[in-house]
Amino acid sequence: MKKLSEIASILRSKNAGPLFITFDIMFSDKSSFEKVMQSGAINKKVIAQEYEVNPKEVEIIPYDIVNSIKVTIPRKCISGSLNDMDIYGCQQQVPIANIIIP
């Protein structure tokens, strides 16, 4: 059992336009990527819970050419709205980083 952040080589969040946050989870080798994918730990339900969004609005896309997983969610606070605390959305990765991979 390890945290996702201990397995991934890059684990970053970024705004994709002002309405979405996108997470890039990259692995340095195919076996780590496949292990995480096969574990099923990165799923819509978990992401939706962590970020308090509707599971239907969560996109999870494996991008195997570079051993990566992309996750995209809508921003609850859109960029620059009064309660927003991260305009570029580049510090939103922690809940994903803490997901335990069995």
Binding site: K14, N15, A16, G17, P18, L19, F20, T22, D24, M26, N54, E57, E59, I61, Y63, I65, V66, S68, K70, T72, P74, R75, K76, I78, S79, G80, S81, L82, N83, M85, I87, Y88
Partner: protein, 450 residues
């Protein structure tokens, strides 16, 4: 056809040595992306640029004399950071200054992309608006409250501007960053799938190289069935992994690039290392959309902001912070009764350094907490008043067991309250269906210099 991207954002700088190398090559087009919505809604709303004027001028004045004297068109998208008319004029002013100082003349095609409120209202009435997020809905009332609206153009207006001979510079308002580099390639008859994919990677400058940097020059060469990317700076290299990974960056989906005209399908894209510094890409496919769309962005004035920044070191005060702030809010509302309505201001508390649930089991946190009391109100004067009231009350707010009765807040500054000025938010960030993708663009031509 060889195209150069000056860098990932005009004003971010680039290596002069790399530019000198590029100047010796035969280049067909230069381009640069000059803006982004990433820094938030303020800049579109306020009509100012998030880029620095001196840095923008530096980036242009080193390269423009070369491109103009050698008759290489230079294409600029999203002028002035946000691409409204005021931003285009700001950048035009910088170009005029350079032309006058260097005693050269040039022909500029200016593409304005601002739209009127009526344009958007018509689209709503014709049922031609598409929401991008459930968290931002559009109504006629929202449109009426917007102070500035731009449309993000695709390649069409660029293709029209490229038609006119002897154009030295195309200066466009809000534009897709891909359009800057895809337009000349598509104009020359190259495959649009390859042209858009090439443009999507190079619009970030040398960000897809190793070491990565948006502050450097990228060279792309497009051919019949492929394109090749190579950083201009000899200290950088492109490799297959970086180039392939770049299509993930700040995109919702790594397999598709959405354009006003259609979508680029990258599922079959093939990446090949051809020298130790360059990568060839093949098989990116363009599919034309049935419904063509333009993205529109509009901002509204939300009010004026005043903030107070403070630190709290006392563990018991930190434990009571949320209760204290709710008391402060109650106090402010009561104090201002019959003077302002509750919907004329917004007061919130932003906390930094808060111990997050699950991190530490201790009931009382053992670290300091940074707070911002954040007030946005309908006038600056009102924001100042509410912030002053809230700050004073927060400083002395009582709570059970309090021992620190001299004050709750450690202010780093005098004055403690900081006036931040107008606050804008995005009211519009939507797609509209458009039969003619040039319908929002106004193109004019002028000669500048001497």
């Amino acid at each position: 056809m060889k195209i150069v991207a000056l860098n990932g954002l005009l004003g971010y700088g680039y290596s002069q040595e790399a530019l000198e190398r590029v100047k010796k090559m035969k280049i067909d087009y230069f381009g640069v992306d000059a803006g982004s919505s990433d820094p938030g809604p303020f800049y579109l709303g306020n009509g100012t640029s998030f880029t620095n004027r001196s840095a923008v001028k530096r980036d242009l004045e080193l390269v423009l004399p070369h491109t103009i004297l050698n008759k290489i068109p230079f294409i600029i998208g999203t002028a002035g950071g946000s691409g409204a008319n005021v931003h285009v004029n700001w950048l035009l002013g910088i170009i005029k200054e350079i032309m006058n100082e260097q005693k050269i003349t040039c022909n500029i095609a200016i593409i304005q992309t601002e739209v009127t409120k009526n344009y958007v209202i018509e689209k709503i009435r014709e049922n031609k608006v598409i929401d991008l997020s459930p968290n931002l809905q559009l109504s006629e009332e929202v449109v009426k409250n917007c102070n500035r609206i731009v449309s993000q153009i695709g390649i069409d207006p660029f293709l029209e501007a490229l038609d006119s001979p002897k154009i030295d510079i195309i200066l466009a308002g809000r534009a897709c960053d891909t359009a800057i580099y895809a337009a000349p390639a598509i104009k020359a008859g190259y495959d649009p799938g390859l042209a858009f994919h090439m443009a999507k990677i190079m619009e970030c400058g040398a960000l897809c190289s190793v070491p990565m940097s948006a502050s450097d020059i990228m060279i792309a060469e497009i051919e019949q069935d492929s394109f090749v990317l190579e950083p201009a700076n000899m200290n950088r290299k492109c490799n297959v992994e970086r180039v392939a990974a770049h299509t993930m960056y700040e995109q919702n989906n790594p397999y598709f690039i959405y354009e006003p005209d259609g979508v680029v399908d990258l599922r079959e894209s093939y990446y090949e290392q051809i020298t130790d510094r360059s990568v060839r890409v093949k098989n990116s496919k363009f599919q034309e959309a049935k419904d063509k769309t333009l993205k529109i962005e509009g901002t509204k004035l939300e009010g004026y902001r005043t903030i107070t920044i403070a630190g709290i070191n006392d563990p018991l005060t930190i434990k009571n912070i949320d209760m204290m702030f709710s008391e402060v809010k109650k106090f402010v509302v009561e104090n201002m009764i019959n003077r302002i309505l509750p919907d004329e201001f917004n007061i919130s508390l932003k906390k930094y350094g808060e111990v997050l649930p699950g991190n530490i089991s201790s009931d009382i946190p053992q670290c300091s907490l940074g707070i911002i009391i954040d007030v946005v109100a309908k006038t600056q004067d009102l924001a100042n008043t509410i912030c002053a009231l809230a700050r004073a009350r927060m400083l002395h707010q009582d709570f059970e067991g309090r021992k620190t009765t001299a004050g709750n807040l450690a202010f780093p500054y005098s004055p403690s309250d900081i006036i931040c000025g107008p606050v804008y938010t995005f009211g519009i960030y939507h797609l509209v269906k458009a039969e003619n993708l040039g319908e929002t663009a106004k193109i004019s031509y002028m000669k500048v210099g001497e």
